[in-house]
């Protein structure tokens, strides 16, 4: 029933958009959503991670991504840490290594993947609605709609979506799915979290994870900085991080703010319908003034001529 009602509202909003030639207040889908109450999340404790990269292996395995190697090859390849990596067309998640200023012998390993924002920039950028924030928390992508404009990549504050540039006919945007096909089933856990040997990742209800994160910070004085990354960043994300050093030192941007990305374009979108009402009114006004002025000028001229003739 709820689904029907939403579809109905969506259709109404769409009709409004067509008649007004733009996008009026049809933002109910993404931008007014203050997070699904029961959405899942993952809490990543970067102080625990040992950098075995098994999560990378499991991710490729589950999502059948190209370039898969043996699990052993992942664990043994340490040279790969010498360069910072990002997600790409064949990789949904990467583990990067950062020097640890508190203990040089124990570098910090940080797993990177889609943060699954509450109010995703990618979803609000997409002009064919290929992205969906699911009630489970996952932000999923529907390649059957994608035109390939790559606005989502530009709009992502975490630089996550990648593109299959080398596929000439059916390129797709690629990004972590939060293993939506696993977590939507009862008891399902993302492949990366399931394989982690040291429990770096805790999967659960996001609200519980927030409490857990703050409890960990409270119970272990000195172990963590007092900041749960993702709790408020860009309005909140489903994935959350704990760290022993400031997040800017381990590859996170500290300047993202707490405003959801879609909010930035909201004031502009709200201008669309007024323009279609106010501008034609003004234009017709100007046009009538002009006509009237011309007419009066013509009449005055005629009167003047008539007067002259009478004389």
């Amino acid at each position: 029933m709820e689904q029907n009602r939403r579809d109905f509202l969506r259709i109404i909003a769409g009709v409004g958009a067509l008649t007004l030639g733009g996008a009026p207040n049809a933002m109910g889908d993404v931008t007014t959503l203050r997070g699904y109450p029961d959405q899942y999340g993952v809490l990543v404790d970067t102080t625990v991670c040992v950098g075995c990269r098994r999560c990378e292996w499991a991710c490729k395995e589950w999502n059948k991504l190209p370039g898969q190697q043996t699990l052993k090859a992942y664990e043994q390849d340490r040279v790969i840490f010498e360069k910072l990596r990002r997600t790409d067309a064949s990789t949904y998640t990467v583990v990067n290594r950062f020097p640890n200023p508190r203990d040089a012998a124990r570098p910090i390993y940080v797993k990177k993947q889609c943060m699954h924002c509450y109010e995703p920039g990618c979803a609000s950028s997409c002009f064919v609605k290929a992205f969906t924030k699911r009630p489970e928390g996952a932000v999923t992508y529907d390649a059957s709609l994608c035109v390939g404009c790559r606005y989502c990549m530009a709009a992502c504050p975490f630089d996550i979506p990648a593109y299959q540039y080398y596929d000439p006919w059916t390129p797709e945007v690629t990004k972590c799915t939060f293993c939506f096909d696993r977590i939507k089933k009862e008891g399902g856990v993302p492949a990366c979290a399931a394989i982690c040997p040291v429990e770096t990742m805790t999967f659960g209800k996001r609200t519980d994870l927030i409490s857990l994160a703050h409890k960990k910070i409270r119970d272990n004085p000195g172990r963590y900085v007092n900041h749960v990354y993702g709790e408020n960043e860009v309005g909140g994300t489903s994935w959350l991080y704990l760290s022993s050093v400031p997040f800017s030192m381990i590859g996170f941007r500290a300047d993202l703010g707490t405003v959801p990305i879609p909010t930035y374009s909201k004031p502009f979108l709200s201008l669309v319908s007024p323009v279609f009402i106010v501008i034609p009114a003004l234009a017709m006004g100007f046009y009538s003034f002009k006509k009237r002025r011309d007419q009066i000028a013509r009449e005055e001229l005629r009167e003047a001529l008539e007067k002259k003739e009478k004389k």
Partner: protein, 410 residues
Amino acid sequence: MDAITAAEFRPTWVQEKLLLGMTFKDYLRSNFTPFNAVAAAILAVGIPVILYRLIYGLGPSTNLSDNNPWGIWIGFDMLCGVALAAGGFVVGTAVHLLGMKEYGFLFRPAVLTGFLGYLFAIIALTFDLGRYYRLPYPMVVSWGVNSVLFLVAWHVALYLGCQFVEWCPAIFEWLNMKKARKIFVKATLGATIFGVCLSMLHQSALGSIFLLMPEKLHPLWYSEYIPLWFFMSAVVGGVVMVIIESAASHRIFASQIEHDEPGHLDGVTLGLGKAAAVTLFAYFFMKIIGLAHGNTWGYLNTGYGYWWLLEMLGFVLLPALTFTYAVQNHLVKLVRAVAVWTAFGIVLNRINHSIIAFNWHLPWELRYVPHWMEVVLTITVVTIGILTFQWIMNRMPILYDHPDFEPEEH
């Protein structure tokens, strides 16, 4: 032309309408000009590049990357193309809404330039789209109404239609279809008003695309005022392109023009120069207000700050002052020179927004520099656009009033 003399030659419909009243042989011969030779050379390289892009994909033909999803096909072809094609909307407003009749003769060339500018911006865009064959998806398959780009897609498409309607009277005069022409002359006012709304919105929406990227665009270019900046600079772009285009056409197609007063174009050019000066000053002050509003003064004394100052002083304030000087002293040639200068300023602004000040936080080796094929494809699309413009100008009554028809009234 051996058998019949020129006087006896009666052109067929095809010869009259398409071959400029010549036989096919003569028409072919008439096309061997230096200009066409250069164009042919560009196409000889450019068409294979286009095919290469379509067959082998974006990877081998561009320097786009996961960090830099947009290059010059968006930054130049789309953003500059649309901004500089605003002439149709600017002249339409002046002539049909504000009743500035002395600018009326600029309406048709401006609308044609605008229409072709938009058309070829869209054509260039399709090469940038990963799945270009899905171009109509935002219209017919799925509506992403939260997206500024959705608005751009719809408005650009609708506006293309508006400009086509405004251009139709010329087409029907060429085809000698009186009734159809009359209908479209009547539709001009409506199309102009609708076009003004659409232009205001999509010109500013092209800037609003960047509103979602506060963390990637340099603070000197990022602001809540981006929509207004893009709109104002597009008005400037439209005005200066009308100055440039009218000067060029009146020289290249001089044989088509029989002016009552020879100084008419000069007077109008000075008027346009005045409009450009006023708009540029307003734009400049809006940019300064953006600095104050965002409190980004501190960035001025950095590398990006000097670059910003170069754009703002060298390509906005200085042209505005020069326009003022030129108009006051009736220096028509200077007005035209400053128009070209200002057009480069608009291009610089759009490239700054989309490429130079974009991803400014990334290390140098991760930044985008266009691939040569991206440049060649851009030049090719522009060339095809100019050839199309030339083809139409040689056939349709764009610069002159068709002798068989009454002037337009609505």
